[in-house]
C-alpha cells in the first residue's frame, strides 16, 4: 500500500475506492439480519437455542454442498446433479452398511466403512461429471442434467421404488453424528462451519481459489497464463462430489433412510444460495461466506413460514420466491442492465 505513486497519478484519494462499503457485500448480510429480525418479531421461540440449532443443523447438508458449488460456479461450471447424487450416495452408503453388518457388527468400524464408501462414491461421481465436462468438452448443464436423471433413477431402482433403511440398531449407533455434538454444538453445525471456513480460506487465499476465479473470468487468459484449466475445473467437480459425500454422511444418521425423494431440488437450492451470496453465475468471482449467508437465508425462510400462520401454506413457495429475488435486489450497486 506504500507503493511510490507514479508521478502522474491524479489524486491520492483515488487509492481507496474499494474500501467503500459496498452493497454487494452488505446486501446479503442485511437480508439475513432482516429475516432474523422478522422471525424474532413473529415468534419469540425463533431465537431459542433449540430452534437455532434446528435451523443450522438442517442447513448443513445444502450448506456443505453449496460451498462446493461455489467453486464449481466460480470456475464457470454448474452442477445440477448434486441432489440426486446425494440420494444415490445415501442409498449406496446404507446398502454397504447393511451388507457389512452381519460380518462387522455394530461399531465404529462399520460406520467408518460407510463414511468411506460415501466419500469414495462422491469422489467418483464428481470425477465422472468432471471428466465428461473437461475431457469430452460437453456443456456442464447437459452432463449434469443427464447424471441427475441417472442417479435419481439408480436410487429408485436400488430401493426397488421404496425406501432404503439403515438397520435399526446401526442407526441408533450412528445417530449421534447428526443429533450429538461437541460443546453443545451439534456435529452437522460443526462440520458445516469447518467446511465453510476452509472453503473461504481456499477460495480467498490459495492458488486453487485464484485459479478457479481466473478460469471462470476468462478461460483463454487462464490458459495463456499457464493455468491447468482442465485439471482445475475437474478438481472443482471432484471437490463438490466429495462434499456431497460428506453431506450424506451427516444426512444418513438423521432419518436412517434414502429414497427417490431424498435430496429433491437440492441442486436448485444450492445454486440459489450461491447466487444469493453474491457469486457470479457466469463465473469469475465467488465468495464462500456469501454462500453460507445464502444458505441461511433460504433455511430461515422455511423456518419462519413454519413458525407463523400468516400465509396459506399453498403460498409458501411464492414467499420463498419473492424473498430470493428481494435478497438479490438488495445487493445491487444501484446500477441496472444485466
Amino acid at each position: 500500500m506504500t507503493a511510490p505513486l507514479p508521478a502522474s497519478s491524479p489524486t491520492p484519494a483515488a487509492f481507496a475506492p474499494r474500501r467503500r462499503i459496498s452493497m454487494t457485500v452488505v446486501g446479503p448480510i442485511l437480508a439475513l439480519i432482516l429475516l432474523a429480525a422478522l422471525g424474532a418479531w413473529l415468534n419469540p421461540n425463533f431465537l431459542s437455542a433449540a430452534n437455532i440449532t434446528n435451523v443450522l443443523a438442517r442447513s448443513a447438508f445444502i450448506g456443505i454442498i453449496a460451498v462446493g458449488m461455489t467453486f464449481v460456479i466460480t470456475a464457470g461450471g454448474l452442477d445440477l446433479s448434486v441432489g440426486s447424487m446425494a440420494a444415490f450416495i445415501a442409498g449406496l452408503m446404507i446398502m454397504v452398511m447393511n451388507a457389512a453388518l452381519p460380518s462387522m457388527g455394530v461399531g465404529i468400524p462399520i460406520v467408518l466403512l460407510g463414511m468411506g464408501a460415501a466419500l469414495l462414491a462422491g469422489l467418483l461421481a464428481g470425477l465422472l461429471n468432471g471428466l465428461l465436462i473437461t475431457k469430452l468438452g460437453i456443456e456442464a448443464f447437459i452432463v449434469t442434467l443427464g447424471s441427475m436423471g441417472i442417479y435419481r433413477s439408480l436410487v429408485t431402482w436400488l430401493a426397488d421404488g421404496g425406501t432404503l433403511s439403515l438397520d435399526f440398531q446401526l442407526r441408533s449407533f450412528y445417530q449421534p453424528i447428526y443429533y450429538g455434538g461437541i460443546f453443545g454444538v451439534s456435529w452437522p453445525i460443526v462440520v458445516f462451519g469447518l467446511v465453510a471456513i476452509l472453503g473461504e480460506i481456499v477460495m480467498r487465499s490459495t492458488v486453487f481459489g485464484r485459479w478457479c476465479a481466473a478460469i471462470g473470468s476468462n478461460e483463454q487468459v487462464a490458459k495463456y497464463s499457464s493455468v491447468k484449466v482442465a485439471r482445475v475445473r475437474l478438481a472443482t467437480y471432484v471437490m463438490l462430489g466429495l462434499l456431497v459425500g460428506l453431506a450424506v454422511i451427516m444426512y444418513v444418521p438423521r432419518l436412517g433412510s434414502a429414497s427417490a425423494s431424498t435430496g429433491l431440488l437440492w441442486e436448485l437450492e444450492a445454486i440459489a444460495a450461491v447466487i444469493i451470496g453474491g457469486t457470479l453465475l457466469k463465473g469469475g468471482f465467488g465468495r464462500v461466506w456469501g454462500t453460507v449467508v445464502g444458505v441461511l437465508i433460504l433455511s430461515l425462510i422455511g423456518n419462519i413460514l413454519n413458525l407463523t400462520d400468516l400465509v396459506s401454506p399453498y403460498l409458501n413457495g411464492a414467499i420463498q420466491g419473492l424473498i430470493i429475488v428481494l435478497a438479490v435486489i438488495l445487493q445491487r450497486e444501484g446500477k441496472s442492465g444485466a
Partner: protein, 292 residues
C-alpha cells in the same frame, strides 16, 4: 392369441407410491407366469401429462385389450381414459375415481375421505377434550384435500384442537423439519397426525430428538410395514395405523386379468375401505416383503 394389458401408474416418488409400484410389478410378474397368453405393459408417470402420453402409446403401439390405470389426478385423466374406453378397451380404474362416472368397467377404489375419517375418529377417541394436535399434510392434491376434510369432519365437536397444518409432502425430510418447527412453536402438543407413514418417520425422529414428552403419539397412515410392526409390538408412540393398502393395484390387475382370460363377471366397484390397525389386528396387515 395373446392379449395385452396396459398398466399405467404414477412413478415411485414417495413411499406409498413405491409400495404400489412394487405390488404392480409383482402382480405383473406373477400373472405373466400364470397366463401365458397375457402380455403386460407397465408404465410409470411423473406427472399427469406423462401419464396421458403413456396411455396414448399403449393404445397406438401396444394394441392393448385392457387398461389398468391409477390416475395421477382425476381430472386430466378423465378425457384420455374415456377415449380409450370408447375405443372398446376394457378399463379398470384404481384408487382415484375419474371425474365422470361410468367410464370404467371396473373400479377398485381406495377411500380417501374414509382414511381421514378413521384417523380423525381415533384422535377424538384417544385424546381428552382440549387435546392439541398438529397435522402433516401430503403434497397439495385432491387426495390430500379429501383426507384432511374427512379428518376435520370426524374431529368436529370432539373438543380436540388442530393447532396447525403444514404440508410435509409425504416426505420424511420435509416432515422432520416441519415437525421440528411445530415443536418450537407450540410448547404443548398432544399428538401428531402424519397422514402417511413416510411422514411419521420424520415426525418421530424430530420428537425423539427434541426429547419432548408432551407428544403422546404419532398417528400415521397407509400401513408401512415398520410402523405396523411397531404397533403390533405395542409401541406407545404408534398406537395405531390406518390402512390404505398400496396392494390394491395388484387386486385390480389380477381381477382384470381374470376377466380377460375367463368369462367370470368382474365388472363393478370394489371399495377397499380404510380400517384402523391396532395392536390386536396389526399382525394381519404386516407384509414383510413389501418395500413399504
Amino acid at each position: 392369441e395373446t392379449k395385452t394389458v396396459g398398466v399405467s401408474i404414477p412413478a415411485a416418488t414417495h413411499g406409498w407410491a413405491g409400495g404400489m409400484n412394487y405390488f404392480a410389478q409383482e402382480a405383473v410378474k406373477r400373472l405373466e407366469a400364470t397366463y401365458p397368453d397375457l402380455d403386460f405393459v407397465l408404465a410409470t408417470a411423473s406427472d399427469p401429462a406423462k401419464q396421458v402420453n403413456d396411455i396414448e402409446d399403449m393404445v397406438a403401439t401396444r394394441n392393448i385389450s385392457a387398461l389398468v390405470v391409477l390416475p395421477f389426478e382425476s381430472e386430466p385423466l378423465t378425457g384420455p381414459v374415456k377415449a380409450v374406453a370408447d375405443a372398446g378397451v376394457w378399463v379398470t380404474v384404481v384408487d382415484r375415481g375419474l371425474s365422470v362416472e361410468g367410464i370404467e368397467d371396473l373400479y377398485v377404489a381406495g377411500d380417501n375421505p374414509g382414511f381421514g375419517r378413521v384417523a380423525g375418529e381415533f384422535m377424538a377417541k384417544s385424546l381428552p377434550e382440549g387435546g392439541k394436535i398438529v397435522v402433516l399434510r401430503g403434497i397439495p392434491t385432491t387426495i390430500d384435500n379429501e383426507r384432511v376434510e374427512g379428518f376435520q369432519a370426524a374431529l368436529e365437536g370432539s373438543g380436540v384442537e388442530i393447532l396447525a397444518m403444514e404440508h410435509g409432502n409425504w416426505n420424511r425430510d420435509k416432515a422432520f423439519e416441519v415437525t421440528q418447527d411445530f415443536l418450537s412453536k407450540y410448547p404443548q402438543i398432544d399428538a401428531v397426525w402424519a397422514s402417511d407413514d413416510d411422514m411419521s418417520v420424520g415426525a418421530l425422529a424430530a420428537i425423539e430428538a427434541a426429547g419432548r414428552k408432551d407428544v403422546k403419539f404419532v398417528l400415521g397412515g397407509a400401513g408401512m410395514k415398520e410402523m405396523i410392526a411397531r404397533t403390533r409390538d405395542g409401541d406407545a408412540m404408534i398406537p395405531a395405523n390406518v390402512t390404505y393398502p398400496p396392494a390394491m393395484i395388484a387386486t385390480a390387475i389380477e381381477v382384470t386379468a381374470l376377466g380377460l382370460v375367463s368369462s367370470a363377471p368382474v365388472s363393478g366397484r370394489f371399495v377397499i375401505g380404510s380400517v384402523l390397525v391396532t395392536p390386536e389386528n396389526a399382525a394381519q396387515y404386516y407384509y414383510p416383503d413389501s418395500p413399504f
